[in-house]
Amino acid sequence: MNWFTMQRRDKAFLIVLFGFITLFMLPWTHSIYILNISLLAWAAYFGCVFMPLIALVITFEKSRNVAVSSKEEVDQ
């Protein structure tokens, strides 16, 4: 059994996650301020919202695909 097969979406998700963290952890975000709060902090709060959203979309998309394929198997 190959336990480590990773789907393309999962790979893309991890790349986006690492890219986001690397990009906003760089020093350029330390000196930009919005409403007196640094971009570094805004980026983290933004990530708290959009990362779970992407994860949920991937999860529900997978569940939908599984449901569709099992329905097709039953029809055949």
């Binding site: 991890l14 570094l40 990530g47 708290c48 990362m51």
Partner: protein, 188 residues
């Protein structure tokens, strides 16, 4: 002594023990009792699991340590600490949870022993888990003891002892199923 606070705490703890006992009975009656105990019969859906994971973040660290460290080190630190937990869950879901689920194993040790066919992991993985979890649990107990002593007026030591006993009893009796169930309701 604060009578109202202590009464609420005792009622909550009694409720936890009753739920634990009820779920122990349910697990004993189940055909797949081991699977039911360790992985809640593999029947936990995305919604319940998400809420339970969110509630699990609401620990002593969130209530006490994160507030304190954010105050001391600044908002960016607090923001990235929260995001670290969220990103960590997503990271672990893809890299750890999925292979674990596919392998049909109950514990990380079982999984690694079978994956790498080495008995070395049988010794080293539990050791790492015990050390890592102890660090985490000790801080949780300390936070529980502090909050408990503040709310009830009892000493810090008594707060730690009470919370440790209830926690061990509850998880030992109910296993994963009850643990997830409790965190789910906490999440709601």
């Amino acid at each position: 002594m604060k009578l109202t606070e202590i009464t609420i705490m005792i009622l909550y703890f009694v409720l936890l023990i009753v739920i634990g006992q009820w779920s122990k009975k349910k697990i004993d009656q189940s055909v797949h009792s081991t699977e039911e105990y360790y992985v809640a019969g593999r029947n936990i859906g995305t919604g319940v699991n998400s809420l339970a994971m969110m509630a699990a973040l609401g620990s002593g660290g969130s209530f006490m340590a994160s507030a304190g460290t954010t105050y001391k080190l600044g908002i960016p630190f607090g923001a990235w600490m929260v995001f670290g937990a969220i990103a960590g869950f997503a990271f672990a879901s893809v890299l750890v949870a999925k292979p674990m689920r596919n392998s049909k194993k109950f514990t990380v040790t079982e999984f690694l022993v079978e994956r790498y066919e080495s008995r070395f992991f049988k010794l080293i993985v539990p050791l790492v888990i015990i050390i890592g979890s102890s660090m985490y649990l000790i801080s949780q107990m300390a936070a529980g003891g502090l909050i408990g002593s503040y709310v009830t007026g009892l000493s810090y030591e008594w707060g730690v002892v009470i919370i440790a006993v209830i926690f061990v009893l509850y998880v030992a009796m109910g296993g994963c199923s009850r643990s997830r169930g409790r965190t789910y309701y906490k999440g709601l």
